[in-house]
């Protein structure tokens, strides 16, 4: 495990340059170039905020603020988009880079690192756009924002764990690559992102509470929509342990499978 981190450190320049190349390639030959990185998330966020609060006038139960539901939705999307982007990218990482892995000798662990890095940058831009819109609407959250840092850590650990496990399995059983997107869709609707948890029937509520993402998304909601600190209780500790274990499992499977992956690609 130590050697994984050592090779990540040795290849740090390569990882950074790969991430920046990825963005350079994405905006090559476009006039506005890197500006699109801001325009996309900003327009997405602005549309949600305007349509939901002014046109549909959707309300969040218990909060008397016309922007509350839009902000609730954005907070949930912020967390979910990072999770689903990391999982989706890790899923096809090794199958797409098969030829490179066969022909070049380099630490394989740089591949997920690059994917995670660029997902994080995308998410940071979305986050910036959300903060910008919040400031415009006069809903600036305040110091609670720092509570997002541990939430992010847990979220990333969980996404990396899940992504690596499925990414490795996908090399050997390609059906995994087809199943996981469906699974992600189901999971999205099982997490209170577009709806508040209060509208769920009581008998289903227990099921939703088992969803590990519920706690994390709930934390994002607390910070951005309700401007409170996330609740710290026993489930939170379970969650931290669980995400740590998931990440460890992902790295473990990745290490064990790495020699065999090249043979199957």
């Amino acid at each position: 495990m130590y050697s994984l981190f050592k090779s990540l450190w040795q290849y740090r320049n390569f990882i950074f340059s790969s991430i920046s190349n990825e963005f350079a390639v994405r905006f090559a030959r476009s006039k506005l170039g890197g500006l699109w990185m801001i325009i996309h998330p900003l327009s997405q966020v602005a549309i949600y905020a305007l349509i939901l609060s002014n046109v549909l006038t959707a309300k969040l139960p218990g909060v008397n603020n016309k922007y509350a539901y839009a902000i609730y939705l954005l907070a949930g999307m912020l967390a979910w988009s990072l999770f689903s982007e990391i999982v989706t990218r890790c899923l096809t990482l090794f199958t797409e880079q098969g030829n490179l892995m066969k022909k070049m000798r380099f630490p394989r662990v740089t591949l997920p690192a690059i994917a995670i890095g660029s997902s994080l940058i995308n998410n940071a831009l979305l986050f910036t756009a959300i903060l910008f819109v919040l400031a415009c609407l006069g809903q600036w959250p305040g110091m609670e924002l720092f509570a997002l840092i541990p939430l992010y850590a847990v979220l990333i650990a969980m996404a990396v764990g899940v992504g690596l496990v499925f990414g490795v399995l996908n090399v050997f059983v390609r059906d995994v690559g087809q199943v996981v997107p469906i699974f992600l869709q189901v999971f999205f609707w099982f997490t209170p992102i577009v709806y508040p948890v209060s509208i769920i029937p009581v008998e289903l509520k227990q099921l939703v509470l088992l969803n590990p993402l519920y706690m994390i998304v709930g934390g994002f909601h607390n910070v951005l929509a309700y401007q409170q600190l996330p609740e710290i209780d026993s489930t939170m500790i379970v969650l931290v342990v669980l995400s740590g274990l998931l990440m460890f499992l992902g790295l473990f499977i990745f290490r064990r499978a790495a020699p065999e992956m090249v043979d199957s690609l």
């Binding site: 320049n13 390639v25 066969k102 000798r105 380099f106 065999e260 043979d263």
Partner: protein, 413 residues
């Protein structure tokens, strides 16, 4: 300490009854695979620094697998590769290149992939740019490159950093001849600086030229490891299925079934047809691989459909590039002239010495009227056959076209 020690190396591909068994194995459950196919086994050899090694073997013999295990991209199933130095491998040119990025950005990226730091790469950049020799294209996106230009840049990156071992896998068969020559010069330069080259090629002559020793692999086994010239000869013999009895190199004639012309052009006025073009060795047995300066012949049949007064038979040998090496006809050779009547079949045989530099040569055959001013051919077949000249004991020239039977004397006045 030896540079590279390969001990009992083997690679097998395993299949399991179910992929679940494979997954279970990662967690320490012992599972017997359903089938195990060994592609390479019991490979032992040691390479000292400064020895360049050619790797010979037919397609599918296991050469690439061996190199990938030495390079570290494929994990051995048994045995060990002990490496005491830095290694670089060119298993495929242009790995990791992105068409939207410029040559310079791709160089940064590809060299980063090889594990070099930014400072190292920046120091090597002028050299890479100079070797690529593509001028302003270096700062343009790679998608605007010709395939040759891309090969130049990727070869330049792969060989820019001094390593103890450099693996080159058949990737040099790209680009124009001048660039290939440049690549070989670079490889020779690296060898001179002490890099050990592991070189895979089907071209036995280039192995003989740049390698000191050679490995011969067949069906996943190491057949022979030793002096390059000796191993190359044994490999050639195995390749063309020659028995030990025909050891005398002077009379070795070989037939390579893969040497077939695929670009023949045939035309004529229909008064006759050339058929059965056969190349033969000194003893008249069919062959298309000759040692330089060996006697060889070109034979063909001409069937006449109409009467032709004293027809002239022609024959020409050309290089791959289409440069005429030697052309002659029956008038010039003062052969007896016969008149042909409809239905006649004449057998024509040109014999000569293959005083040629090792390489590939093409044959043209033709038949025309005696009056040469009328350029029209009765039948002409251009690029109708190919033959290969390989070096032998009598070979005195390595580059160019003709072997002029050079002799050398060095004396003090």
């Amino acid at each position: 300490m030896s540079l590279l020690v390969v001990q009992n190396l083997g690679k097998s591909y395993r299949t399991y009854h179910s992929e679940w068994q494979r997954f279970a194995r990662w967690f320490g459950v012992s599972v017997t695979p359903r089938s195990e196919q060994w592609v390479l086994r019991n490979i032992d050899f040691t390479i000292e620094s400064g020895e360049s090694i050619g790797v010979l073997g037919k397609n599918g013999a296991g050469k690439s697998t061996l190199l990938k295990m030495i390079a570290g991209t494929v994990q051995p199933s048994e045995g060990t590769v002990q490496l005491n130095g830095r290694i670089a491998a060119i298993l495929e040119l242009g790995m990791g290149f992105n068409p939207e990025l410029t040559g310079r950005q791709n160089v940064m990226h590809a060299a980063g992939l090889m594990g070099y730091s930014k400072v190292d790469i920046e120091n090597a950049m002028p050299d890479i740019q100079a070797f690529s020799d593509i001028e302003e294209y270096f700062d343009l996106p790679v998608r605007t490159y010709s395939s040759g230009m891309q090969s130049r840049v990727s070869f330049a990156v792969a060989t820019a950093f001094k390593t103890d071992i450099l693996i080159v896998d058949e990737s040099l068969a790209v680009g124009d001849a001048a660039f290939q020559r440049k690549c070989f010069r670079r490889l020779e330069g690296l060898i001179a600086q002490g890099t050990t080259l592991l070189f895979v090629s089907h071209d036995i002559d280039s192995v003989k030229k740049i390698c000191k020793k050679a490995l011969f692999i067949d069906h996943g086994r190491l057949v022979e490891f030793g002096d390059a010239k000796k191993v190359c000869d044994h490999y050639e013999k195995a390749l063309f299925g020659k028995s030990d009895k025909q050891k005398d190199q002077k009379h070795v004639v070989l037939l390579d079934a893969t040497l077939k012309s695929d670009c023949e052009v045939s035309y004529g006025d229909g008064r006759g047809t050339i058929a059965n073009i056969v190349l033969a060795g000194a003893e008249g047995d069919q062959a298309n691989v000759f040692r330089s300066n060996e006697d060889m012949s070109i034979e063909y049949d001409v069937q006449f459909h109409e009467a032709v007064r004293s027809p002239v038979f022609t024959c020409m040998i050309k290089t791959k590039e289409g440069i005429a090496v030697s052309g002659t006809d029956s008038t010039f050779l003062e052969a007896e002239v016969v008149d042909a009547s409809p239905g006649d079949v004449l057998k024509v045989k040109f014999s000569f010495s293959a005083a040629l530099v090792p390489g590939f040569y093409y044959v043209n055959c033709g038949v025309r009227d005696a009056d040469a001013s009328e350029a029209g051919f009765i039948h002409r077949r251009v690029d109708a056959a190919i033959f290969k000249v390989v070096s032998g004991d009598d070979t005195t020239a390595l580059v160019g076209v003709a072997d002029l039977q050079a002799r050398l004397e060095v004396s003090t006045p």
